[in-house]
Amino acid sequence: MSLDPEILSRVQFAFVVSFHILFPAFTIGLASWLAMCEGLYLWTRRDVYRRLYHFWVKIFAVSFGMGVVSGIVMSFQFGTNWSRFAEATAPVLGPLFTYEVLTAFFLEATFLGIMLFGWNKVGPKLHFIATVTVGLGTTLSAFWILSANSWMHTPAGFEIRDGVFYPVDWWKIVFNPSFPYRLVHMVLAAYLTTAFVILAVGAWYRLKGTAHESARVMLTMGVGFVSIVTPLQILAGDLHGLKTLEYQPAKIAAMEAHWETERGAALALFAWPDAEAETNHYEIALPNVASLILTHEWNGELTGLKDFPRDERPPVAPIFFSFRIMVGLGLLMLVAGVTGLWLAFRRRLYDSPRYHRFLVAMAPSGFVAVLAGWITTEIGRQPYTVYGLMRTSDSLSPVAAPSVAATLVTFVVVYGIVFGAGLYYILRIIRTGPERRPDVTQSETPATPARPLAYPDESTSET
């Protein structure tokens, strides 16, 4: 079998970007959660908020570190593996990436240092400002990178000369048609991802019967948050989908596995799409529902895949399934929010082991939904890098397949080690809990002196 540098480069990019997105998706929400905990601590002076802050900031530090190192890889991928894409789009995308570095990365990196190491070096208000600034940085970062990504889906504000995209109107480039929808959808997704991790940790402590006060705060705030944000996210997703239908109808047709153009199109709950035969096997469908969702009309017309030439269609099966995984998880999140609200109303939120077990199981739901959503939208962009204008096959670097294969294998191994270790340390922090110092639990007679911590008030402990 001969190695194809295009496929290898696509797999490499998909791998490194999928790995990377997990961390921003988590840290965007976590930064806001930390800012809220610290703000509440300054306001109420209740020690539980300080404990929560010092607990989650450790998890934040590990996640952020992994996000940084995997993000640096991303900024080189465009050159190493996609240099023709970079050559064609640099005048448009280069400044957007650089604005991300200038407005977000420096801000995050510098103030993170103060956030982690400055508790005793700067005043409480200044420290709070540092935390808020890190949160602002993560959101600004999302702004620029999603603008650049959206431009690849709905390019605007440019002209093409000699195969190069020249900027004409920066406002139209930055605020391209799909950007506002994608930004809202992704930022809400990041918040939900974090919220479900916080909920799972709180629920797990309830099941174990430890960290009572912290667990209650996490459950109450988490349930309040997801019961409001999940419906908003479903609405945002719906609007995003309608925009996609307007600009990328082939992607929608593939997401729904619609082959024929028809009015009153059915929504396939399950099917086995067959791109070769241009049909679905084993289909279970609800009549008219797809038209209702996508056109908001019972008999609205949807364009089928057969209306697009074969070489302009995205792969159908992967995005048909990934879209369903994302939507399914969204609905489960809605169930989690509504159930939590009902339990809280019945004053049983802290004492419902079955619900707590459900929440623990939902811990990775946000991450899986984010990945499924990105798989849907990015594979749905195929066979183009810049939708409708530049093909993926014309975007590649002049690199040899063995080089790409070698680096791909290395990235997989290295990320496996680093991700494995990071996950292990995060789980250990969670196991230790917000009420105890890790050094004390690990060994009472350390060979080296225990690392003194930055906690100003070690004697306080709850229960």
Partner: protein
């Protein structure tokens, strides 16, 4: 208006040059600490060494990302040529930086520190070596056709690029050692003085070897270095190198705390300036100049507007964070 358009690439060359230089200085001493951590004695010394850079390393590494994206934005042809040309050393550098970076977080959380000590040490050495190789590969020239690379997989590999790789390891280690002189006290500081002396000798040897090698490379370096009138422009650099290394040596001998680090930075400035002067006006020899690699003026201008405001702001708060963490470093400063 034509003059402004012609000036733009010049301005951007200055900005990118400044960004890369900031990276070399700032991550230089952090990587130097990593290189020297292999010679540290026990976890106590390693704790101090890592704590001296833990609050700031992340911001320092960000200059590398600025260099990468800034190059893409302002000189896309340089970016699209350089990265495929240096595919393997740059990929290796990224992987080494991953291990170096996560070691900061993981080492303090691990019970067995050996693995992350090694990751920190080797990550720093390999990343530095790859950066040095990259520098050498650019100096010796990259085969291009327009904005794409047309050379082979191993064109970067040469005795010269290996020499620059080793040189940078020695150079960053000097930055790290003099940083330690400034940030530590007692035994460790005495050790750092000793290292600084040895490494300074090493840096002088490396600079001399590289300088002697360059004229024998292909291209018009020999002409630039020995032909008039260009040689006159380059003469100040070796002279400055001699003066700075003498002052640095003297400052180490008289046990100054701040001057060794500041003069090491000056040493790098001289070397960097000398390289830039022998390049000029190329961004990647032999074919890409700052004018034919430049992005269209509408892109360079759009980014310049933000750069003018944001870069001073970044320098301001970076300086502020250094101020917060000023003074000798102690072992007990972590949040872990």
């Amino acid at each position: 208006m034509t003059t402004t358009i012609d000036l733009l690439p010049l301005v951007w060359f200055g900005i990118i040059g400044f960004g890369v230089f900031m990276y070399v200085l700032l991550d230089g001493f952090v990587l130097g600490i990593g290189i020297l951590s292999g010679f540290a004695h026990g976890e106590y010394e390693r704790d101090i060494m890592m704590n001296s850079v833990a609050p700031i390393w992340d911001g320092n590494e960000t200059w590398l990302v600025l260099g990468g994206t800034g190059l893409l934005a302002a000189f896309p042809a340089a970016y699209t040529v350089l990265l495929p040309a240096l595919y393997l050393p740059l990929s290796l550098m990224l992987i080494a930086l991953i291990f170096r970076g996560v070691a900061f977080e993981f080492r303090f959380k691990a019970e067995r520190k050996f693995g992350w000590n090694t990751a920190f040490n080797f990550g720093s050495i390999v990343a530095t070596f790859c950066q040095g190789v990259t520098l050498g590969a650019i100096v010796q020239g990259v085969a291009t056709d327009g904005a794409q690379y047309v050379g082979g997989v191993f064109d970067w590999l040469s005795p010269f690029s290996l020499l620059t790789g080793v040189s940078l390891v020695v150079g960053y280690a000097l930055l790290g050692a003099t940083w330690m002189v400034m940030k530590t006290a007692g035994n460790l500081q005495q050790k750092a003085y000793g290292w600084s002396r040895m490494l300074l000798t090493g840096v002088i040897v490396c600079m001399a070897l590289v300088s002697l090698y360059v004229p024998f490379l292909d291209g018009d370096y020999a002409q630039r270095w020995f032909g008039l009138p260009h040689a006159l422009l380059l003469v100040p650099f070796p002279l400055a190198a001699v003066a700075v290394s003498y002052a640095l040596y003297a400052s180490v001998l008289r046990r100054s705390e701040y001057w060794p680090f500041l003069l090491s930075l000056a040493m790098f400035a001289v070397g960097y300036g000398g390289l830039a002067a022998s390049f000029w006006p190329h961004i990647i020899p032999p074919d890409l100049t700052i004018w034919n690699a430049a992005a269209p003026p509408e892109s360079q201008r759009f980014l310049l507007v933000g750069m003018v405001f944001l870069l001073p702001f970044i320098l301001f708060y970076t300086g502020w964070s250094y101020w917060i963490f000023r003074g000798k470093v102690s072992r007990d400063m972590g949040y872990h």
